[in-house]
């Protein structure tokens, strides 16, 4: 960041837009496309980019997610740096054949002779009354695709640096953006080009009583829970995974070995969610440090509610996180 000292306050939407603008400006191979991307996208993430960079580089595609991802794979194979937008992560499912059959297998299948340096961005998660599939969190499915990286930022500054790193990465990257964070927070974001390393978790708040392991839209929920706990003299450590695949187990284990207690927080359905992998790894690697069972706080194993009247009961909040914390502290 040494070459980019200036900062501006930005929302996550603005930070992603800024990262895309930087990428389009510095590399002519970068192409940005998807449904309604030309006019700025339904969340206005690509606002102004078509006007600045032209219709040849920022453009609308036909309405077909399988086409968007498959087409992007071909673009990448033949020399471009495609950045595709899927309008909502819950609309990705028609493209799963492309994701599972080609996207992450291509390097391995061809011994690294063909590669797919492609980024697929999608808004995910609930919290702003986008009904049912518009609030899905399918990240665990994506981590099951070999050869694919999955990145989920938790604030504007990190979103920009991680997205630029994803676009420059030699492998395909899913970049999921929590809809809840799009406009709810403003933070200082450096101008110009900078990257943050993929595959590294970070300590978002230091503490010694218990570890909260989380990512994306749940980071602010966990930080809020940690603030409440701190008022009662309980210091929680919050680990923000940032990259789910490849998973930085070392950072998580170091924290759990220190605190002896872990709660994993994610908003996808509880069963088979990425938090289940985190809990399993803690059990495999640091079970002897544990002083309490590893608990999960997650979405319920029912579809995300399509009505805002009950939506807030689905998504984990600070109250549910603190209930789990009390249980592990009492054990």
């Amino acid at each position: 960041m040494a070459d980019a000292p200036d900062t501006r306050p930005m929302t996550l939407v603005q930070a992603v837009n800024d990262a895309l603008d930087v990428a389009l400006s510095q590399d002519p191979r970068v192409l940005l496309f998807g449904e309604d991307v030309g006019m700025g996208g339904v969340f206005r993430v690509s606002d102004g980019l078509q006007g600045k960079h032209g219709e040849a580089r920022v453009f609308d595609t036909p309405l077909a997610e399988a086409g968007i991802v498959g087409y992007g794979i071909g673009l990448a194979l033949a020399g471009m740096r495609p950045v595709a937008e899927i309008q909502f992560a819950g609309f990705l499912y028609p493209a799963l054949d492309q994701v599972l059959s080609h996207l992450g297998r291509y390097r391995h299948r061809t011994r690294g002779r063909f590669t797919v340096p492609m980024v697929i961005r999608a808004p995910y998660g609930g919290g702003v009354h986008t009904p049912e599939q518009h609030a899905d969190s399918p990240e665990a499915v994506l981590t099951q695709a070999p050869g694919v990286k999955v990145v989920i930022p938790s604030d504007p500054m990190r979103a920009k640096g991680l997205l630029l790193a994803a676009i420059e990465d030699p492998d395909p990257v899913f970049f999921l953006e929590a809809i809840k964070l799009y406009r709810s927070v403003k933070a200082e974001v450096p101008s110009g080009h900078y990257t943050l390393e993929l595959g590294r978790a970070r300590v978002a708040r230091a503490g010694d009583a218990a570890t909260l392991v989380t990512y994306g839209g749940m980071v602010e929920v966990c930080l809020k829970a940690a603030e409440v706990a701190a008022r009662e003299g309980v210091e929680l450590e919050v680990i923000d995974l940032e990259t789910l695949a490849p998973f930085d187990a070392a950072t998580v284990m170091a924290s759990v070995e220190k605190t002896g207690r872990a709660v994993v927080v994610y908003e996808a359905r509880k069963i088979g969610g990425f938090g289940a992998e985190v809990a399993a790894r803690i059990a495999e690697e640091t079970v002897w440090s544990l002083q309490a069972p590893v608990l999960r706080v997650a979405g319920w194993d029912a579809p995300y509610p399509p009505f805002s009247a009950i939506e807030h009961h689905y998504r984990p909040d600070a109250r549910r996180v603190l209930e789990a914390v009390r249980k592990v502290l009492a054990a």
Binding site: L31, A56, T61, P62, A64, A66, G67, V69, G70, Y71, G72, I73, G74, L75, A76, L77, A78, G79, M80, P82, P94, D97, Q98, S101, H102, R105, Y106, R107, H108, R109, T110, R111, G112, R113, F114, T115, P146, G147, K149, D169, P170, D171, G199, P246, F247, A249
Partner: protein, 365 residues
Amino acid sequence: MIRDSQLFQPFNDEPISLIGETGAWEGPFDLDLDPAALRGMYHDLVVGRLMDERLSRLQRQGKVSFVAPSAGHEGAQVGLAHALERGRDWLFPYYRDTSLLLAFGLPQVEMLAQAMATRADPNRGRQMPSHNGSKDLNIFTIASPIASHVAPAVGAAISMKVQGTGQVAVASFGEGATSEGDFHAALNFAGAQGAPVVFFCENNRYAISVDYNHQTGADSIAAKAHAYGMPGYTVDGMDVLASYYVMREVIERVRNGLGPVLVETLVYRFGPHSSADDDSRYRPREEVEAWKRRDPLLRFRRFLEKQGLWDDAAEAHLRAEVEASLQAATAEAEAAGPIPVEWMFDDVFAQRLPHLEEQRHDLLD
């Protein structure tokens, strides 16, 4: 030159055919290929057929796990391969394209090494047999899920268009693939964006056991082109020259920036769907025998004989030469030895990642 005007009209009712069943030239224009080019096509037909037979033999011997026989498809495939610029244009093939891949330049030893998963396979045994690919030759590596390669072909074509390279991408597939959603998405993208891509359907009337009439209500596969705003042609795929001349005209059109084309070749699969299939359960023997009488190799051999370019001695000589070449390639592929299991963990990502190194270590311990 015949290239001054368009020889073939799209949405034709009768399949385009240039050689009659007796081997007589019936084209409405003068043949412009020299004897070496014509003999070269026959060579490639014979190589494809004999490789196909060899792969099936190796499968029965337990040396190959799987084969998708392509006998009966050679005419369509060799015609296409000869109309493309090798090393320049891109192929997005499917798993029944043995003759196409070999005629486009894939070395015999690579195909055999991949089928047997030996160290001579440049892709290190990471693809199933009949699912070849080649970076050197711009051949997209095949995956089994049907039609999953068609949208990538369109993306690659747009990349070529953006870069102004004048290259053409060709995606080949069976008629069953045209039922998939990805097929529709791909043709729709290509039509909307004017991609330099050719969609090449090898319609052999059966997707494993499901026949054409259970696959689609359309009169022809070529007719589907209409809805995507591109021309569609139906070609007699048992006639290598019909495939060659149609593809030559189509590829030139696409190279000149006139947008995508769908070509349907009518072929027949002489063997089962794969080494795991018994086609006698769903195809009457008389039907198979009737199509075998239309064998693309036989028809083209009769044509060459009528042109005074071929005889029994030439046939015996060619077959012996090709068998010797395939035998040498088989021996070379086998001698390289089987792939080691630890190769499985390479090339998952650009970097070697700790969790994969741990798993490699766990496996080898």
